[in-house]
Each structure stands twice: as C-alpha cells, then as structure tokens.
C-alpha cells in the first residue's frame, strides 16, 4: 500500500501529512536504483539533488556479535584500525585526504554491523570509493599502530565508564541479553582488548570484510550511470568469499523484571529496558508508535505525568533499538533530587499498566503518529542521514524495510496498539530495571 492510498483510505490524518512530506512516495527522498556487482557487492544509488553533496555509506554485516571468543571488541577495534593505514593511505592519511577535500568521515560499530561513511561535495566524492577499496584490499595493521590504537580504545572505555548514562546503559543491556551476543559491550573489556592483536584483527577482516558481505549506498547529487561506473572501477575487483555469519542463539529474556542497582554521581537515574522483537517484525512499527505515545513530546503520557505535572523527573526519554535478532524499548528518566526513586518507579510501572489495561484514544494515537512522522522527517533532511539509514536497512533487512515499517506505523489502529502494549509493555514478561543511585 502506498502513502497515497493509505491517506485515501482514511487510515490516519498523519498519513495525509506523510503524502506531503514524502512527495516521491518513499520516506527516503530521491530516485533509487540497485545493482549487484559480479563480486557480490550490493550497490544502491540514491539520486537526490537537494544539495550539491554526496555521501557514500559502506555497511558490512559484521559487528560485535561476530567477535571471536575471548576477543570481545574486535569488530570495533578493527573499525578504528581501518583509519590507521593501508597500501595507498598511510596512518592518518584518510583523515588528511578527507580534510583536504573539504569532507567528513566517520564509522560506527553496532552488534549487527559496521558502517563507514564519507560526505563530500558532489564534484569530488569518488575519492571515498578509492579509500574504501584500498583499505578493504590492503589494510596494513602495523603492530605499532595496533598498540597505539589499543591505548586509544582504553581511553574510550574510560570515557564510557565515567559517563553515568553510558555506564548504566551498558550494564542494563548486559543483563537484558545475558548469554546472547547483544549483551556484550561493543568496545570489549580491557582484558579482551589486551588479548586482541594484529592476528585476530586480520582474521576478522578476512572473514567478513568482503564485497559479498557489504552494501554500498551512494546518495546525493550523482547520477546512476556515473556511480555504477565508478563503483565497478574501484570496488569491482575485490575478491568475494565472506564467511557465513554464525547464527546467534535465541535471546533468553529475563524471567520477570530483573533489577540492577549501581552507585554513581549525585542524581538518581532510571533505565527500564523491555524485550522487543527484531527490527523487521510487524510489531516493531507498533512499538515505535507506542514509544512516541509514551515519551515523545510534552503531551506524551510519561512526560506529562512524570515531568510536567508530576514534577518527579527533570526529563524522560523513550527509545527503540532495531536489531536483526531482537530489540528493546527503553525508558530513561533523570529523577529530581529529593524525590524518592521508589515513587518514580511506582508511577512509571503504573502508567505502563494503564496503557496495557485501557485502549488509547484515536486523538492520542494521532498525536503520537504526527510526532513520530515529524521526528523522521527532521532526522532525515540531510543526505548523509538518508544514506546511513538506507545502508543499514539494506544490510540488515531489505530495500522496502523503511517504507514498510513507516506505513505500518501510519496505519496502526488504537486496537492494534493496545494489543501490542499487552505483548510488550508488561515488564513481568522480560525486562531489566536499572537504577543508578547517588553515592551520597
């Protein structure tokens, strides 16, 4: 069903807004073309002439879940090393070249994938492909650079350990996904880092950094013909042969609501993580809408009850991860000093129970839908974000994933949402409630 037909069917007034917001008929603007090279590389050209810029996003189906035993953090470590020297680009040269061309680059590692991206002005973007090809084919992994970068990652771990929210999030996620690769910290532990060297990183790259395990999105002011020609010329000779990723076991969610308590800082912080299905499950779209209904905007249930009216928390935030195997919906709140944490917990659980017990009204659902739609549009205005969302969706799901889930969100009825709330918003069905409480 298209956005137009969704709007015509009267499914939701937000659907009419979506027709205006997505004039090309997709929630990612621009004309899309797909190709697959002989070596298995999937290429997507997103021609979008809103600004004279081009972003290339290379997403590999290799992440923390693929870390070898005893070498946690290897996927992330390798991501760092991809900037530390290859045959044509010595240590630091990728950044210097990017700067000289007036662009930007970065990368991120998740449990399911690792993504590298460059953004350049439209007249010089092809340098990104030259860099990607070179480091895919001939990464140096100089032992001195490996040792130096290990120290840098130790500092990154220290940074996360010091930040109260990051530290709480890592602990909650470890408990929620206990025994599953999603519970491992992306950065690994200090001990695992010490045990990981050139050999392990080279092996990881050999196993997974292959064109038949990757998706490349080129988005912005570039034509399909030019892009495909350049991609074939630069990346077409890379040898295929990616190893099949090991299947992860099913997540064994906690029985009931597991509790976790830490002491850090001077302000109480609450993080509730609820079990949720994989990102491509039809219920995932419903949960995204439920997350908006609960915590997006001042009119949302939790914000109003806990912040603006209850005056118990200085802020609350809801989020939903989008994993290949499973996801989780999280509710984070920072408690006003002096307020009893147990009171906040009681209120929060009561509000969830209320949503599970009583069907939300159409007006409230429509508000949440409008907010979710606006969030999407504002978040995807820039070509870079369009490229990244598309690359990850293609690598983990499929080409229609983003629009399919958006249409499900726009079409969801209050009754369907209510049923989904019953399936997922009951902490007793599998969740972790983490508290970071003041030391004093």
């Amino acid at each position: 069903m298209s956005y137009q037909s969704l709007a015509s069917s009267g499914a939701a007034s937000a659907a009419a807004a979506a027709v205006a917001a997505f004039p090309g008929g997709s929630c990612i603007p621009g004309r899309r073309q797909f190709a697959r090279l002989a070596n298995g590389l999937t290429v997507c050209v997103l021609e979008n002439r809103q600004a004279p810029v081009v972003t290339t996003a290379l997403c590999l189906r290799a992440g923390t879940r693929d870390d070898p035993p005893g070498h946690g953090g290897a996927a992330h470590f390798l991501e760092h090393m991809m900037f530390k020297g290859s045959a044509r680009f010595g240590p630091g040269e990728i950044d210097r070249r990017t700067q000289a061309l007036g662009g930007s680059n970065n990368a991120f590692t998740s449990h399911d994938a690792t993504t590298y991206y460059f953004s350049f002005a439209a007249d010089r973007w092809t340098e990104a492909l030259a860099i990607e090809a070179d480091r895919m084919a001939s990464l140096t992994l100089d032992p001195r650079q490996v040792a130096s970068e290990r120290q840098v990652i130790r500092e990154e771990i220290a940074m996360y350990d010091s930040e109260p929210w990051d530290a709480l999030e890592v602990a909650v996620q470890a408990r929620l996904y206990r025994g599953h690769p999603y519970g491992r910290p992306v950065l690994g532990t200090r001990g695992e880092l010490r045990a990981t060297g050139r050999e392990e990183l080279a092996t990881f790259q050999r196993r997974f950094y292959r064109p038949d395990n990757a998706v490349l999105v080129v988005a912005g002011e570039a034509s399909e013909e030019t892009v495909l020609g350049e991609v074939e010329r630069t990346l077409g000779a890379l040898p295929p042969g990616a190893e099949q990723r090991a299947g992860a076991s099913a997540v064994a969610w906690p029985e009931g609501m597991a509790r976790l308590r830490r002491r850090k800082g001077e302000v109480p912080r609450l993080l509730l993580a609820l079990a949720a299905p994989a990102g491509d499950h039809p219920d995932h779209a419903l949960l995204r809408l439920l997350a908006a209904l609960l915590g997006s905007g001042r009119s949302s249930r939790l914000y109003r009850a806990l912040v603006d009216e209850g005056q118990l928390c200085s802020w609350i935030h809801t989020d939903l991860t989008e994993g290949l195997e499973a996801s989780h919906l999280s509710i984070a709140a920072e408690v006003v000093p002096g307020v009893e944490p147990a009171r906040v917990e009681g209120e929060l659980l009561g509000l969830l129970a209320e949503l599970v017990g009583t069907r939300p009204g159409l007006e409230e659902v429509e508000r949440a839908r409008q907010v979710a739609l606006a969030d999407w549009v504002l978040h995807h205005e820039r070509v870079e974000q369009q490229a990244l969302s598309l690359a990850v969706a293609l690598a983990l799901f499929d080409a229609e994933h983003l629009d399919r889930q958006m249409r499900r969100l726009l079409a969801a009825s209050p009754a369907a949402l209510h049923e989904a709330a019953g399936r997922y918003l009951r902490p007793e069905l599998g969740s972790v409630l983490g508290w970071s409480l003041p030391r004093s």
Partner: protein, 415 residues
C-alpha cells in the same frame, strides 16, 4: 521588500529585523524568533534561561498543555529557549504549515502570560538538570574552565545558573526581562518553501506595532579570569582526567575571526583526527580518544576562546598538557606551512554545502548574521573571504591571538 526565489533578504521594521530565505524542496520550514537578552544581561543567575523557557508555559490565549498539544498534533517541533546571549522561540514545521508556525511563534513572544506555578517548576527542573550535568566529568571540567577564563563576566557560569539562585527567580523576574528585551527588538529568521508576499503581510500584522529598537541593557562586567594559571576541578571519573588549555581570543565581529577559523583547522577542529593537536595527542602518542582544539569557541558579543581539550588517563595528563602547549606555541612562533593552509582552506570551502543543506541550517545562519550585523552569509561571500587570506595574514592573526605565555590550564581530576 522581501526578495523571492533563491535569494536572502533582510526586511526592516521599527522593532523587527527579518531575514528570510526560500529553500526550494525543503520538507520543513524553520522559524526562529530571537530577543537579545539572555544570561549575558540577567541580574539573577538562571533568569535568562527561565525567561526563555517560560514563553511556552502559557500565553493570554492558551496554557502550556494546549500549546504543546496543538503543536504536536500538527507534527510541529515548537520550543522556547534561554541561551547565553538571548532567548526566543524555535519552530520547525512541515512545509505546508509555515503560516501557523509563524503565528504560534509570534504568539509566544508577544503574549506570554508567565504563570508563577510554572516558573517554580521550571526553576526546580533546571536545578535538577544542573545537578545531573555536574555528574558528567567533561561538563563539570568545562564549567571550571569557563570560570577560570571569564570571571567575573557572566560567561563564567553555566547558562542554567546555580541551584540556589534558580530557587529565587520569580515569574515577575522573567516577565521583566522579557519586556525589557522586547524594547531591544526582535530578530526573525525564516527558511523553507514559503510564500513571500503572504509572509510579509503576516509579519506586518504580527510585529508591525513594535517600537523602534533601543539598547536596554548595560554591557556586562569584562572578563578577567581567575588569578591562578592552573585550576583544578574535582570530578567523579573512572581513571580519566579532563584537560582544558586556552585563553580568551576575539569576539564574533573581529576582523581576524575568519583567519582564526583557518588557524583552528590547522590546530585541530577539522575532519576526523587531523590538525596538529589530535595528530600528536591521539595519532602519534595514543594518549586519548578525544582531542580537539578551537580558536574562537563561543565567540559572540564578547570574546571567544582558544581551547584545546584532551580526555586522558591521569597518569598521562602531564604529557598531554605538554604536547598541547608545545603545539600552540609552535603554531604561534613558527607559523604554518603553505600546504597546511591550503588544506585548511579547502576543508572550510568544502564543508560549505553541508552547512546549508536544510531549512533549519539556513535559519540558524540567517539568525547569526543578523545578530552580529554580519554581511549576508552566502556561499560566494564565504568563499571570497576564505580565499582572500594568505599565509602571512593567518600567521599574523595567530601571533596576535595565540599567546602561549597567557595559557590557562583547567584540569578535572578524579578525587
């Protein structure tokens, strides 16, 4: 006359200055209304912040619940804010809603009701935010650095104020600051797909009766800084020190500002881990995950600052400090290479299209230009400004404004 099509236009009214840009194809329209009164001119710490936040807490027509529900029901992001130099309202709306976005933004600025009960809550909320931020070691160290450099100027304290003073700010204090600020005029910056004629008519109706601009606030105390060269802040950190090194430089309107932007890229504000400080601290010596530098951070009506930041283990903080100080001294003393300058220039020219991709970015650019009386910030002018600077000009600016002997060091250490 408001210019149409692909042009930037400035429209004057007695108490209103407007900059508008039509951004073809943008799915969002961005409205920014700004009043020149924030932390910089407040008489009670936190007053500027609360004054801004109070604008969305109620108007003569609607209470805060209605304002939020109406905006969210249209998929609009409407927020009021208090910042260091000003306060105001931001609205980002789906393009067809631009008239409503302007109407509601104007309502918040022209008709706020400043309910006392909401002020009490916002003060409490801001105090809680302040305490939450103080738990973050980098933020707490950064506050210490501002205090080190700017005391007794208001930049020496967080925009959030302090916990004690936030309890004392009343709705009447906020209403008073806002009323005085209105006498200083309103700046409107709007970008998106808009109907210029209808826009002009709407502006006339909403703001045509504002009185001519005045200068209602005396300037704040000049920044002097704390007397000591080194300042230590106690933070709750796991084995990490937060090092800030720098001194004051120039305000936004200073003629050396653009040269110092180029110098900043050479020092460490460019792409990835380039620049002398990140290259040495992270790439060569492996001391930190985060290392960067700026030369005009926070420059506005008052001077900005040279600042190099490194997060490193306490055991290597001395080595990191030595590296940062040496790199600043080397740049000021030995100058820069032609190749370095060309790379920095190429970088700043290359990132221009990314600064202007969206209506929201355009609105921010227009607002800044109007706020500091800068020329219309179009890509051609920016390119000409950057190309006009040669190595000698940049070195001269670096010598004038990077002063190794004046460097102050603030370090946040676990304790």
């Amino acid at each position: 006359m408001v210019e149409t099509a692909d042009r930037i236009a400035a429209v004057g009214r007695p108490g209103l200055t407007t900059r508008v840009r039509r951004v073809e194809g943008a799915p969002v329209v961005a409205v920014r209304l700004w009043l020149n009164a924030g932390t910089r001119v407040e008489s009670i710490p936190g007053q500027g912040l609360l004054t801004g936040r109070m604008l969305e807490e109620g108007t003569r027509r609607r209470d805060w619940r209605r304002i939020a529900a109406d905006a969210e029901g249209r998929g609009m992001e409407l927020s009021s804010f208090g910042a260091f130099e000003g306060h105001g309202v931001n609205v980002d709306a789906l393009a067809p809603d631009w008239e409503l976005a302007l109407e509601w933004a104007a309502e918040l600025v022209r008709e706020p009701s400043f309910p006392e009960d909401r002020c009490a809550w916002l003060g409490k909320q801001a105090a809680a935010e302040l305490e939450g931020l103080a738990d973050q070691p980098d933020v707490k160290s950064a506050w210490g650095f501002l205090e080190h450099l700017y005391t007794p100027h208001p930049r020496c304290r967080p925009v959030l104020g302090d916990v004690a003073s936030l309890r004392t700010v009343t709705a009447a204090d906020c209403a008073g600051l806002h009323r005085t600020a209105l006498a200083g005029g309103v700046i409107a910056a709007v970008a998106g797909v808009i109907d210029e004629d209808a826009f002009e008519r709407r502006l006339e109706r909403l703001f045509g009766d504002l009185p001519p601009r005045a200068q209602p606030f005396p300037p704040p105390a000049a920044p002097a800084g704390l007397p000591e060269r080194r300042h230590q802040v106690k933070v709750e950190s796991e084995d990490q020190a937060h090092l800030y090194v720098g001194h004051l430089t120039v305000p936004r309107r200073h003629p050396d500002y653009t040269a110092l932007e180029l110098v900043a890229v050479i020092l460490g504000s460019g792409a990835g881990l380039t620049g002398r400080i990140p290259t040495r601290i992270r790439e060569r010596e492996g001391l930190a995950y985060t290392a960067h530098a700026q030369t005009v951070a926070g420059a506005g009506e008052d001077p900005g600052r040279l600042v190099a930041y490194v997060a490193t283990a306490p055991a290597t903080a001395g080595q990191a400090e030595k590296g940062v100080v040496e790199e600043i001294a080397r740049l000021a003393g030995d100058g820069i290479g032609d190749h370095e300058l060309e790379e920095a220039r190429s970088y700043l020219l290359g990132v221009e299209p990314f600064r202007r991709e969206t209506a929201r970015q355009w609105a921010e650019i227009l607002l800044e230009a109007e706020q500091y009386g800068l020329p219309l910030d179009d890509p051609q002018r920016r390119a000409a400004d950057l190309r006009a600077l040669d190595r000698r000009a940049c070195e001269a600016a670096a010598r004038r404004h990077l002063r190794p002997a004046d460097l102050r060091v603030t370090i946040g250490l676990p304790g």
